[in-house]
């Protein structure tokens, strides 16, 4: 008799053509392997060590995304970009150039389909697991192996199932769901595990909202956080001209999970991760009472840089001005997001409110060149992590929040609960 499989088990089993179980070691073909400009050169050094030359098993399944360091603000970054471009010439792999967007946003728009196995030399590669792909981040050496040989080894992860129940209250977004989960289970609460999201609430979560959650699965240590592929996934792939590649994919009802955790979404409030870890969770209303003045607000990233996120911010910023003494930076997640936001008048609303609009890229999140902070400065960001020094300065203070909370904070110039702006 066939025993039920989790979503993670099912994807790997389909790839291998046999049953697999949590705990097993498997060697699996890889559908897409990616690097970004901060991890690519090391990856390609390793490929040369391994193969004796610049070579890829499947050049059309390897991708370089120039999202962290471009356009280069330092000659060293330019040199790294040149090396990566030379590698493209030598191997014929895919290149997403400066301004095309963040790798995780791009690959979900253009390449990944339900059931794929995706690896990348970037910890947030697991974002694409929002469309029922086995997508996970690795180091440069592991990614080099995947690119050079077209396969990689995995330990089939145990699964923690999250049942999301109840409607989301006004002003509460999927960012608050995942912040709540990280606060509950801790930053090592799902180490090596697959998180699997289900329950009635997910039917009402758009793909943009789901990717926020899967991006931050990394922040509780998970190998990946999976959503089933359903009508939302189909609708989203249709938007990106890829409906033909869609298929339904879900865990079996009788699958074996390590544990199940129920999240009552109807009781959630706007939340924040306060300095200096993403598991340090407080309610926005509590932080508001502490009277935290904010120097910079940042809207963007693989976590919250999609169209719905820009719209959420515009909902609050429409007809309002960003507070004097506070600056707001917006980096759309991809060129597609940027174009849509332009066409729908979102960019105009943000710009008229006083926000600085950047190109489609990671922006200030990795702390490498844009929107760096001075000693003692405070930033509220929609990104995924607020480790000490993350935004380029260990003496600055980072708070993580939803686009609504970030936008409301920009208007007030201090951290506020966004619900007063939403009815």
């Amino acid at each position: 008799m066939r025993v039920g499989m989790t979503l993670a088990e099912k994807i790997l089993a389909d790839k291998l053509g046999r049953e697999v179980r949590a705990g097993e070691i498997v060697i699996c073909p890889v559908d897409l392997a990616l690097v970004q400009d901060g991890t690519g050169t090391l990856t390609f050094d390793v490929i040369r060590q391994l193969m004796g030359k610049d070579t890829l098993k499947h050049p059309d399944r390897a991708m370089i995304v120039l999202d962290h360091l471009g356009p280069p603000g330092r000659p060293e970054y330019a040199a790294m970009h040149k090396r990566l471009r030379d590698f493209v010439k030598a191997t014929g792999c895919l290149l997403a150039d400066v301004g095309e967007g963040i790798s995780h946003v791009l690959v979900s728009e253009r390449y990944v389909k339900p059931g794929d196995v995706v690896v990348g030399a970037d910890s947030h590669t697991n974002t694409a697991a929002g469309m029922a792909a086995f997508a996970t981040g690795m180091g440069s050496t592991d990614t080099a192996v995947a690119m050079a040989l077209g396969k990689q080894w995995f330990r089939v992860p145990e699964t923690i199932r999250f049942e999301l129940r109840g409607p989301l209250p006004v002003g509460v977004s999927s960012k608050d769901i995942i912040l709540s989960i990280i606060g509950t289970i801790g930053e090592d609460g799902a180490v090596y595990k697959a998180m699997e999201f289900g329950g009635e609430t997910i039917r009402h979560l758009s793909m943009d909202a789901r990717f926020t959650i899967t991006s931050m699965a990394q922040e509780c240590g998970a190998k990946l956080g999976l959503f089933p592929s359903d009508e939302e996934t189909r609708k989203w792939m249709r938007t990106h001209g890829r409906e033909k590649e869609w298929k339904a994919l879900a865990a079996d009802a009788d699958s074996t999970t390590e544990r199940a955790i129920e999240v009552d979404c109807s009781r959630l409030e706007p939340l924040m991760a306060v300095p200096h870890t993403p598991g340090n969770i407080k309610r926005a209303i509590e932080v508001e009472q502490e009277g935290v003045k904010v120097d910079q607000v940042f809207l963007g990233t693989c976590t919250n840089g999609r169209l719905e996120d820009l719209k959420a911010a515009a909902q609050i910023l429409k007809g309002r001005r960003i507070a004097k003494g506070t600056r707001m930076l917006v980096y759309p997640g991809s060129r597609w997001v940027y174009h849509q936001a332009l066409e729908e008048g979102i960019i105009q609303i943000l710009e008229e409110a006083g926000a600085v609009i950047g190109h489609a890229a990671c922006g200030p999140c990795p702390g490498m060149q844009f929107g760096l902070l001075s000693d003692g400065e405070v930033c509220v960001a929609t990104q995924n992590r607020n480790f000490k020094g993350r935004m380029g300065n260990p003496n600055s203070f980072l708070y993580l929040a939803s686009p609504w909370t970030a936008a409301a904070t920009a208007v007030e110039g201090r951290i506020v609960d966004p619900r007063r702006f939403l009815s």
Binding site: T41, G120, G137, M138, D188, G392
Partner: protein, 182 residues
Amino acid sequence: MVVRGKAWKFGDFISTDLIAPGRYAHLRDNLPEFVKHVLEDADTHFAPAALTGDQTYIVVGGRNFGQGSSREHAARLIKLAGVPLVLAKGFARIFYRNCFNIGMPALTVDTDQIAHGDELEIDFAKGVVRNLTRKTELTTGRIPPVMLSILQEGGVVEYIKKRGDLVFEEATHGKKAGRGAL
């Protein structure tokens, strides 16, 4: 294999941002320069002390050591600073694989039993950490067999080169690999 060194203690949740800060991203192709900043945001005294080369230090962390970014530079810089292995209560999964892939063991052990400056002797094949200062012996968590075979070759590049392919006995049989740290 047995290594000896002095414990340099770090706390819980040491991120790769603390180990290899993003503001030094321009040094990612220049690790001999980057290593001068290894673990700088966790403890500014570590890199200068480790790089004098007078003393072998064992990096001793707490919970979820190496969490956050996948940047392999973090593991490579620790190794480049002369650190033979890392001990912690637990490791973030990407950092863990990165360590073994470059031939540096990462062992789980109750690091509460180790104080800053303790002299340690680690026999990782036997799974023992001897605290020579406190005259105690700690048992490490088991190294999963796949990781051990990678480590025995000095890293995954050497492992694959020797076999001409990425192959594991465990994967061909489809058998349970056990509940190791992986």
